[in-house]
Structure formats: C-alpha cells, structure tokens
C-alpha cells in the first residue's frame, strides 16, 4: 500500500524530467522497436552520464548517490510499516494531539529498534564484536555469485530469472559428488566444484539454446526451469541414492570433509567460497571490460540488431552468456552445499536465486556494484534472523525493503522527484524529438 501512495504522490513534478526520460528510452528501445534494456543506460558504457554541472551536482546526480537514497527511502518506508503495526505507536496515536511527543518517540523507537537489532545481527554488537559481520559475508557469498550471473546476463540484454534453478541443479550435483564419491583431499573439492558448475552451466545453456534457436523468451523458460529443477530435487531427495541411510526425511548425507570449502576464520561459518566470490567478481569485471567476448556481450545487450550488423554472432553470444550466467549462479549453489550448509535439503537454494535478481539490479549490473549489493542483502538476511528473535519483527520486512530499494532504483526519475534532484535543463536547444536519433546513433556507433 505504501508504494502505491508513494507513486501516486509523485506524479506531478514529472514534466521536468521528460527530457531525461526521452533520451534514456530512446537508447533503451532503439526508437521503440526493441524491448527496453534492463541495464540502466549509463552503466552500459561506463559513462557517468551527467558530465555537466558542478562537481557536487555530479556526485548528487550519479547513480551511486541515487542508489544510496533509494536504500534510505526504502528503509524509512519499511520502518513506517513496522511502526504501523506497533502497539505502543497505536496507543500513543490515540492522544496524538494532546501529547505529540509521546507519539513521535514511540514512532522513533519502533522504527529504530528493529533496525538496531538488524545491525547488531549483521555487523557489530557489543557482545560479540564484529563476529556477525563474518556471518553476513557467509550469507552474502551465494548471493554475490548468483547476482553476478544475473548481472552478466543483464549486460547482454537477457533476463535471467533462472538463478534459482541453476543453484538447485548445481547444488544437487555438487552435493552428490560430495557425499557419494570418496576422493583424495584437494581433488575431491575440485571435482565437486567442477560438477556443480557444469550442471549450472548446462541448466543455463538450455535457456540460451532455446532462445537462440527458437526465439523462446528467456523469462518464461527460466521461470519454468526453476520449477522443473525444484521438483527434480524433491524427487531425488526421495530416492535411496540421495537419502541418508536409515532416515526417511528428505535430507542427504553430510558431504565428506574433503569435499567442503575450508573455513577461513575458526569459530565462524565463513569459508573459502567467499574468496572465490571475490575472484569471480574480478573475473566478471575483466570479462566485461577487458575482453573481446565481454565487449560482444555488451554490444548484444545494447542493441542486438546493431551488434549483428557489426558482425557479432548474436545466437552464439546468447548461448555463451546464459551458460556463463548459469556457471556463476552454480558457484552460489556450490558455496551453499560445500560451504555453508554441508548437506543437501529441499530448501538448499532458499530465496537466493530471487534475491540475486534484486542484488544485480541494486548493483546496476556492474560486477563490483553487485558485490557490494550482495554484501548489503547478505547483511539484511543475516541480521533479520537476529531481529526476529529480539524484537519479533517478521523476517518478511527484509523482502519489503529489498523490493522497495529495487523499485526506487529502477525508476531514477521517481527518486529524483522525491528529493527534487532534477537535472539542469542542459538540452534546451535540442528538442526531445532529436534526442532519440542522437542516442540511437550513439548506440550503433558503440557497437562497431
């Protein structure tokens, strides 16, 4: 309900941003013939976008700042939601006009109490010091990997909603190799990783192949494959091969010690998988910004028609990028079974694959952006558990905050109009009609 009110309220100051929008959309849709790009235009080229104006203005208008504002607004609205169901707030609201300070302090307590608990569960608390931060990093590891997979596909103009399925398949394969095969130390973990990643890559490649060969929309195929993977796992966990001997519940045996990531810091769950996630982030950054193939991916994402004209094999790029996205998500699945959980259950993927979409969107589909977004959402996840225990606030509030963040980030004009951050009228001489053509020329030029 809050979002609806919010969006309804902010419809008026819209005219002033129409120029920005026209240019954005022109690049996004090539004059209304393509689907709009998923990635914000400005992060496709690495160009900050608003070159004019003062330094302050540039910082304020930059994407990073909008992201920070989006997080703040979303947290504020989430806080209001928590407060709206708080008994003390309701009580003091009864005599709001008699003693407004009571109401305000109750409101403030309700809003901050949960977030303080969340912070203590995710980053620092006096009792344990920075130990919760290690848990945050553990929880963030699969989010970062899967988020990178989603982000990489975004950059190539593909909407990979299938991270969930890719995680499930990779976790299943990795876990099976981990508990059923007994290989020497070192080799075992390597085989576990390879099998898991191959599984994820294959699950992703199916989508790419169907898209390239038959034009099947990747959104539909990935959604459906998520469910296929889920039921496949459910089926396998009910077979003798995957179940613990002598146990009827759908849970696999523990993975061998030799098949798991070593723990980084004793006393925590943080494992080597986190270092792998950092390496993958760097790898994706290198791939996108320094390699030919990454350039092709971005060209296909910016404008497939232009990319094809420029000699990029679009269908090959589609298959490859989906396989790579699947492989990246698969590292998340491996981190789950070989690092965090060490067993395979039906809920091994939890919500990671869906959170990964919001992680990639918050990270604006750049590798390091995704990394830090993954850390942030990992903190939310880790802290929310503590929050629920301490204050009774349901974990679901995290979902609300996450989705609000993404909604605000996906619509920069909205957040700008909330904070009156309208860009200066720099294109006064250019009519809006001229802008699309210029932008289109840019996009095509960039692909050559």
């Amino acid at each position: 309900m809050t979002t609806k009110d919010e969006s309804g309220k902010d419809q008026k100051p819209e005219e002033s941003t129409s120029e920005v929008r026209a240019a954005d959309v022109a690049l996004d849709t090539a004059g209304g013939t393509l689907e709009p790009s998923i990635v914000p235009v400005s992060s496709q080229s690495g160009d900050p976008g608003h070159k004019q104006g003062s330094l302050m203005r540039r910082i304020v208008m930059g994407n990073g700042f909008v992201s920070v504002l989006a997080v703040i607004v979303a947290l504020f609205l989430g806080g209001l939601l928590i407060a709206s169901t708080d008994a003390q707030v309701a009580k003091t609201a009864g005599y709001l006009f008699a003693r407004p300070t009571d109401f305000l302090s109750a409101l403030w307590t309700a809003m901050t109490e949960s977030y303080v608990a969340l912070f203590q569960g995710a980053v620092f608390n006096p009792r344990e010091g920075f130990k919760p931060l290690l848990e945050t990093m553990t929880v963030a590891t699969p989010l970062i990997c899967a988020g990178l997979g989603v982000a990489l596909a975004f950059r190539a103009g593909l909407f990979n909603i299938g991270a969930q399925g890719q995680i499930i398949i990779s976790a299943t394969l990795a876990a099976y190799v981990g508990f059923a095969w007994h290989l020497p130390f070192g080799l075992h973990l390597l085989v576990v990783i390879i099998m898991g990643v191959l599984g994820g890559a294959l699950w992703g490649a199916i989508v790419g192949i169907l898209k390239a060969r038959t034009g099947a929309h990747e959104v539909i195929v990935t959604i459906m494959l998520n469910y296929v993977a889920l039921f496949l796992l459910d089926f396998l966990l009910n077979t003798a091969a995957f179940r613990r001997p002598g146990d009827n519940s759908p849970i696999s045996p523990r993975l061998d010690e030799s098949a798991t990531y070593p723990v980084l810091i004793p006393g925590s769950r943080l494992h080597v998988g986190f270092l792998v996630a950092i390496a993958l982030t760097y790898g994706v950054w290198w791939l996108l910004n320094r390699s030919t193939i990454g350039f092709e991916f971005r060209a296909v994402g910016a404008n497939p028609v232009a990319a094809r004209t420029a000699g990029v094999k679009v269908s090959r790029a589609t298959i490859l990028v989906m396989a790579m996205a699947g492989a990246l998500a698969a590292f998340g699945g491996v981190a789950q079974v070989a690092g965090t959980e060490k067993v395979l259950t039906g809920g091994v993927a939890a919500q990671i694959g869906f959170d990964a979409i919001t992680v990639a969107l918050l990270g604006r589909s750049t590798p390091w952006g995704t990394f830090f977004a993954g850390l942030l959402f990992g903190a939310f996840r880790a802290g929310a558990v503590q929050m629920q225990i301490q204050t009774g606030t349901p974990i679901d509030i995290v979902l609300v905050v996450q989705s609000l963040i993404v909604l605000f980030i996906a619509a920069p004009p909205l957040i700008r109009s909330i904070f009156r951050l309208e860009p200066k009228k720099k294109n006064k001489n250019k009519t809006p009609k001229a802008a699309p053509k210029a932008a289109l020329a840019n996009a095509t030029g960039g692909a050559k």
């Binding site: 209304g32 998923i38 959604i223 039921f231 919001t358 509030i397």
Partner: protein, 429 residues
C-alpha cells in the same frame, strides 16, 4: 487458403512453394508412438475402473472398466490415426485444423490416465471427483491467466500475477474477517489486485521501468508485505483478522443433479460462476467489440493505434488495472473457497502456472481457460497419484505444466506468438 499457395501436386519431385511448419504433425506423431508403446504394448495388464457417478446420485451410470494394455493399444492407435491425418494434411500443404491438437491432447491425457490408474495399487478412481477437483484447482489459475491475457494483449507483460493473486488472497481474508462478510472480502480482493496492478502500470507506463523487473519485484514486495502483516496481525489475533468464513455454495436446482457436469458447472460458489462469466466476457470483449479491437491494436502496433486517436497509455493503464482486479478475485478463491484462512505465500507459485497457461493458451481467453483446466487437472492428478499409489513419482506430474510450457514457447507444440508490442513501453513522438 492453401489452394492458392500450394504448387501442383502432380509430381512428387516438385516441392510445393509453401509448406506449413511440420512441427505439429511431427510432434503429434512422436507423442502417438510414445503412447502406443508405453501405454499400450508396455502397459499394465490390470483393469482400470473409472467411476462416473457416485453412489448417492439420482442417475446411476455404470463405471467404465478399461483393461490397461488393450485400452492403451486402442487409444494409441486412435492417436496414431490423428497424427497420420495431420501428416497427410501436411503433405497436402495444409495446416492441421485447430480442433486436432485439442482432441489429440484429450485422448492422450485419457490414455495417460488409464495407464496410471491401471498400474496403481488400487486401480480405481472416481472420474467425476477427478474432474470436479481439477476445476476447483483451476479456478484461481483461470482468473490469473485472464489477468495476463488482458495485460499482454494491451502490451504490458504481467509477471506480477503471483503478487496479484497473493494480494487478493490476503485482502480477502482480512476484509472478510473484519466486516464479517465474505462477499465484501471478494470485492476488497479485486481492489487489492487492482492496486498491485496499478503499481505495475505506473512504473512501467509512467516511469518506463522494464515491465519484467517491476513484475518480479512486485511479487517479492507483495510476498513480503503480506508475510509481514500475517506475522504481526494475523498470527497473534487469528479471531480478529483471519477467520473469513467461506463463500456459500449456490447450487442451481435441477441442473446440478446432472451426473459429472452438474456438480462441476452448476454447484459452485459465486467465484466459480464469476469465472465462467469472466472467460466469456473477456473473450467477447476482446474479439467482438470496439473496445477489444482498440485493446488489441494497442498491443500489436501502438503507433498505428495512436495515429487513429486511441490514447495508448490510458488504454494500457486501465486494462492492466482491470486485469489486476480479475486476478485479485482469483486470489480470494484461496482464502474464501478452498480453505478459510490465510497462510504465508498461500498462492504457492500458482501465479506462474497461470502465466504458463496464458502462453500455452496462446494469449486467448478460451485457450487460457482450457490450459488452466489442463494444469488444474495435472495438479489434481498429482495428489490423487499419491493416494492410489502409482509407480509414477508425483513430482513428475507436478513438473508437467512447466515442461509443457517450455515446449510451447519453443514452438514444438504449435506456434505461440505474443502480441507484437508486449513488453515495449510506448513513448509518443
């Protein structure tokens, strides 16, 4: 149509200039062979009993007794005949008529059913109960897929069906409990679905955010909001917020006594009747009225529609809103008909099955309705399989709708094409 496009059929060497896709005949042929071999020759030798009327019915119809193997072979040959007809038409350069794949699907499902039941530990099911259960399970799917049809036909991709269903289910439970009337709850559910849809509409039409992103995020948002409010409001005060009661079943006298179709068609709650009305109205509206022509024009070619003076974005906005209201009613079915309370994530992915039904039904209200029935049947069969004990794991039954949809979008089962402008925002100028 084909007469003008095919070449003379005199010589077998001269290929016709135009040939329809051979995907349909080919896939029918393969499926028919699978049915003949697995359901027929390798079929179980027990006899499947299918009860048509219950013991208490006014008109008693004897149960169908079908021997597993013989039945499988007969049905397999029937399927082969249909596939052969399709292939014959293809060699003549003609497309298979629309009824053929549907009839094929019905016979195939029946053969599958015989195979499953005859192979079960307890080879007997009630056909009437099976079909009635399928329709009950299909009701939210039908509403959800109609919402998808309305949105996609006007050019807005609606991934948020899940959120609309969930929002409707939650609001129905909450409002029905607070007002004491399930009917007010039903109306509130429609309003909630419309509200979710309006967010989708505002973000995708006004702020030009990618529609798929908004849809995905809305699902998360609604899941979070309803889960949060469920935890803070409904769990501590169930009496006060989460005992909505049920919508009354309103049997139509006489008609509801007809065996099999009576209870299915004429012994429903108001939501069930609304479903039939909604399918008919949406179909008629889309294909037989001026409004429908405009809607489809906006979804296929917004520039042309705009040139003719249709307000593209307003049409989109109101259509999406209407779709949300319909899905909201579907959501109310969960909490006012199926069971009488809300639980967290009660829609359980049914919104995505509705999306699948919409695609499998080729963006057509009637098609979406039939596809929803098929998927409802798959759902129901899945639970019945567990009861009668079959060798087929129920998980594979559960997978079926999703696999079928993948085949459908990949063009292996006919060609399904979305409206041309679906997913693309319209910027004037």
């Amino acid at each position: 149509m084909s007469a003008t496009t095919t070449a003379p059929k005199s010589g077998s060497t001269a290929l016709p200039a135009f040939r329809p896709s051979m995907k349909v005949p080919l896939s029918l042929g393969i499926l028919a062979l699978i049915a003949l071999v697995f359901f027929g020759f390798l079929g179980p030798d027990k006899t499947a009993e299918m009860k048509i009327s219950d013991a208490g019915d006014a008109v008693a119809v004897p149960a169908l007794m079908i021997p597993g193997q013989v039945g499988g072979i007969v049905l397999g040959i029937l399927l082969l005949a249909m596939a052969a007809y399709s292939i014959y038409l293809w060699t003549q350069g003609e497309r298979s008529p629309k009824w053929l794949p549907i009839a094929f699907a019905v016979v195939f499902v029946f053969a599958l059913l015989v195979w499953i039941v005859a192979g079960a530990r307890q080879p007997s099911i009630s056909l009437a109960g099976l079909v009635a259960g399928s329709v009950t399970l299909a009701v939210p799917l039908v509403f959800g897929s109609l919402s998808g049809v309305l949105c996609e036909r006007v050019g807005v991709v609606n991934i948020a069906i899940e959120g609309q269903l969930l929002g409707g289910a939650f609001t129905a439970a909450l409002v029905a409990t607070m007002t004491g009337s399930p009917y007010i709850g039903l109306i509130a559910a429609a309003a909630a679905g419309a509200a979710v849809s309006m967010v989708l509409a505002v973000f995708s039409i006004k702020y030009l955010v990618n529609q798929i992103i908004v849809g995905v995020v809305l699902n998360v948002l609604v899941s979070g909001l309803t889960g949060f409010l469920y935890g803070t409001l409904m769990v501590p005060n169930k009496e006060q917020f989460n005992t909505p009661g049920r919508l009354d079943i309103l049997p139509i006298p006489l008609l509801s006594d007809i065996p099999i179709i009576g209870p299915i068609l004429f012994e429903q709650s108001i939501a069930g009747y609304l479903m039939y009305i909604a399918v008919a109205v949406v179909w008629f509206g889309l294909f037989k009225t001026r409004w429908g022509l405009r809607v489809r024009a906006v979804g296929e070619h917004p520039q042309a529609a705009d040139t003719l003076g249709i307000n593209v974005n307003a049409t989109r906005f109101w259509n999406v809103t209407l779709g949300g209201a319909i899905a909201g009613i579907g959501g109310a079915v969960f909490t006012l008909v199926t069971i009488d309370s809300f639980t967290k994530d009660i829609s359980g992915g049914r919104g995505f099955i509705a999306l699948a039904a919409l695609i499998f039904g080729r963006w057509n209200p009637i098609g979406a309705f039939l596809a929803s029935l098929l998927f409802g049947f798959a759902y129901n069969l899945q639970s019945i399989l567990g009861i009668i004990g079959t060798p087929v794991p129920s998980q594979f039954m559960a997978m079926l709708p999703y696999l079928v949809t993948i085949f459908a979008v990949a063009g292996l089962v006919g060609k399904s094409r979305p409206p041309a402008a679906s997913g693309i925002p319209y910027v004037k100028g």
